[in-house]
Homo-oligomer: 101 residues x 2
DNA sequence: TTGACATATATGAATATCTCTATATATTGG
DNA sequence: CCAATATATAGAGATATTCATATATGTCAA
């Protein structure tokens, strides 16, 4: 049985919900998948890999960066994004473990 | 390094995104928390515990049931909801492990 | 059957999300 | 500086969410 200590605070629930909502979108989840696999990708790689418009990729990337899920690092003309929220990595691996056929 | 086998199919990504979006809402995540802790709850317990309108609780519960996250069982005048998507339980426990202060 | 209680649904308004097109900004090579 | 490439942003239209109010439905006891 669970104990009261297993409950998250209201703020923790809010934060967790924000993070989950952030990755709870097909395109964004695919981006997370790609970044989890590749470690780091620039915008062009992402939008070409997923077959989506560059602007759409950029918008989703900026959204996830604003929520603290991703971070971007500019290298010359490219911006490389990576996952910075460790919870996201954990959730993704959890899903890999439990969503495979 | 990851292998191609670590990637989810497009359908699996869609399914996973739907599930994550489902629990990526403060009220729904709190409901999940409660059900994970208590095992089963009726609508009144949920809406009173969370301090939300009965109709709102019912709406979120029906949404999650429609997405296959929850199931309800009627016992007389009450309907008891429980988590039926094992992935959700895993993700919640994962979040507990990584979101505590 | 009627009343009381629990749950579900309809509806609408406010707000948010999503994606497209077009354009702007940034960086570098020449 | 200029051209080329990469990335970001603005604006708008379509769609989806969210939550409140009101009402409907279901169950049981008397």
């Amino acid at each position: 049985m669970k104990t009261p200590a297993d409950s998250l605070s209201v703020e923790a629930v809010q934060q967790a919900a924000t993070m989950l909502k952030c990755i709870g979108h097909p395109i964004r989840l695919q981006i997370i998948e790609l970044l989890d696999k590749e470690g780091e990708c620039n915008v062009t790689t992402i939008h070409e890999s997923l077959g989506i418009e560059q602007a759409v990729a950029s918008q989703h990337l900026n959204l996830m960066r604003d929520k603290g899920v991703l971070a971007g690092r500019r290298d010359g003309v490219n911006v490389y994004y990576r996952i910075v929220d460790a919870r996201v990595t954990q959730v993704i691996e959890c899903i890999h473990d439990h969503c495979q056929p």
